[in-house]
């Protein structure tokens, strides 16, 4: 594609195509979109973040990421669609325009580019990072068990061959550390939304403890509203709740760390599950999935904008 209008959002794309897409989007929208490289992956790929901003300095911000688990292709594809949606709706959609007139939005489409590349070229079922583990023939760490929040507690594995291996220490993965450094240095992120697939769930902290988050009631009611709005488009049914109550105990996860950093609106999505395809969700479901998820994202972003803290 020569521009982001002719980019085919109804298909899955390789990492290089996504990198090209990001550059095209920046070039086409220089006043709204910029690209920040927040670090490098283990295999030296750039960790690109798109910044959507209408100006100001260190405005309150919303973070969205997709693709921390490499094989969850619907997430990177949805992230690409979200990026385009942000530029097309700014100035036309009053709610998004109000958000972007007050806040910045950061979008990391491929949090785990090494793993994503590996799914395209070697092993479609790869989930983790691609960093070798000392003393083991098994490669990679689960980047969603590598955060410094209940790190190493039950709900992650100490076995490097496990899909949920937490790594040798918290933030051992450069892909995780880059976000940690960015969030800390920014200091004004108000919502953090990390997107996975597939189970049709919207969850909030905590994963490592049954102790409710201080803001449990507000997070719960906002999640309920978000999944109601999501379902209004195609009737897709989501469950919601704290992570430990909704799925299982999971330690060292992204949103527990972000919440402990003071980011109240910390959520994680599990996108569509048709009950037939798992991670091989057909490409014709990319746009419907992204469209319905967008409604939930807007609900969370709008609430964040209207409820400063």
């Amino acid at each position: 594609p020569r521009n982001t209008d002719s980019f085919d959002y109804t298909q899955y794309h390789t990492l290089s195509e996504i990198y090209s897409f990001q550059d095209m989007l920046v070039a086409e929208n220089p006043k709204l979109v910029s690209k920040i490289v927040i670090g490098q992956s283990y295999e030296n790929r750039p960790l690109n973040v798109l910044k959507f901003s209408t100006g100001g300095t260190n405005r309150p911000a919303i973070w969205i990421d997709t693709g921390i688990h490499a094989r969850e292709w619907i997430t990177q594809a949805s992230g690409t669609w979200f990026a385009k949606k942000l530029v097309t709706d700014y100035g036309t959609d009053p709610a998004l325009t109000a958000i972007l007139n007050n806040m910045d939005i950061f979008l990391e489409i491929s949090v785990n580019p090494d793993g994503f590349y590996y799914t395209h070229n070697n092993n479609r079922m790869w989930r983790k990072t691609r960093k070798p583990n000392s003393g083991s023939s098994c490669v990679g760490v689960d980047p969603n068990r590598n955060w410094d929040a209940g790190f190493g507690l039950p709900g992650a594995s100490g076995n490097p061959c496990s899909e949920t291996y937490h790594g040798p220490k918290a933030e051992s993965e450069s892909e995780v550390k880059a976000i940690v450094d960015f969030v800390k240095s920014h200091g004004n992120i108000k919502a953090f939304i990390s997107i996975h697939s597939y189970s049709q769930m919207l969850m909030y902290p905590f994963g490592y403890t049954t102790t409710p988050a201080k803001d449990d009631a507000e997070l719960h009611s906002l999640a309920e509203k978000a999944i109601t709005d999501l379902a209004s488009l195609y009737g897709t049914s989501y469950t919601y709740g704290s992570l430990i109550d909704t799925i299982y105990q999971a330690s060292g996860i992204t949103i527990d760390w972000t919440y402990n950093q003071g980011i109240k609106f910390s959520y994680t999505f599990e996108l569509r599950d048709t009950g037939r395809y798992g991670f091989i969700l057909p490409a014709n479901q990319i746009v419907p999935t992204a469209q319905e998820t967008w409604l939930a994202l807007m609900t969370i972003m709008d609430h964040t904008n209207k409820n400063p803290y």
């Binding site: 085919d8 298909q11 899955y12 070229n121 070697n122 092993n123 479609r124 079922m125 061959c161 899909e163 597939y198 189970s199 909704t246 799925i247 299982y248 599950d273 009950g275 037939r276 395809y277 798992g278 991670f279 091989i280 057909p282 490409a283």
Partner: protein, 96 residues
């Protein structure tokens, strides 16, 4: 490229807490090399497991002897991956 020929994805629905723990035990049977696509959560919530061809018979026998019901969600994973790849290639070639 790694082949997933003959791999199946089984959808298992645990009916009680005993079945839940029996399915969890599958995770510890390393020689089966199963891959939980959807982890064990609670009773009546589906668990999806990718089972390599070499373990299929053993895993199915394990489930059946424990009285755990399952269905085959994906008959042959590689067939689906081939279709996915074919679609991507055809789209990539379209401009040519």
């Amino acid at each position: 490229k790694e082949s997933f020929e003959g791999h199946q994805v089984l959808r298992i629905i645990p009916k009680d807490d005993i079945q839940l723990s029996l399915i969890k035990e599958l995770e510890d049977m390393i020689h089966f090399e199963v891959d939980f696509w959807k982890e064990v959560t609670r009773v009546n919530t589906p668990v999806d497991v990718r089972v390599p061809f070499h373990s299929l018979q053993s895993v199915k026998i394990y489930l059946e002897t424990q009285g755990i019901e399952y269905s085959i969600m994906i008959e042959d994973l590689q067939v689906m991956l081939d279709e996915e790849q074919k679609e991507m290639m055809s789209v990539a070639r379209a401009p040519e």
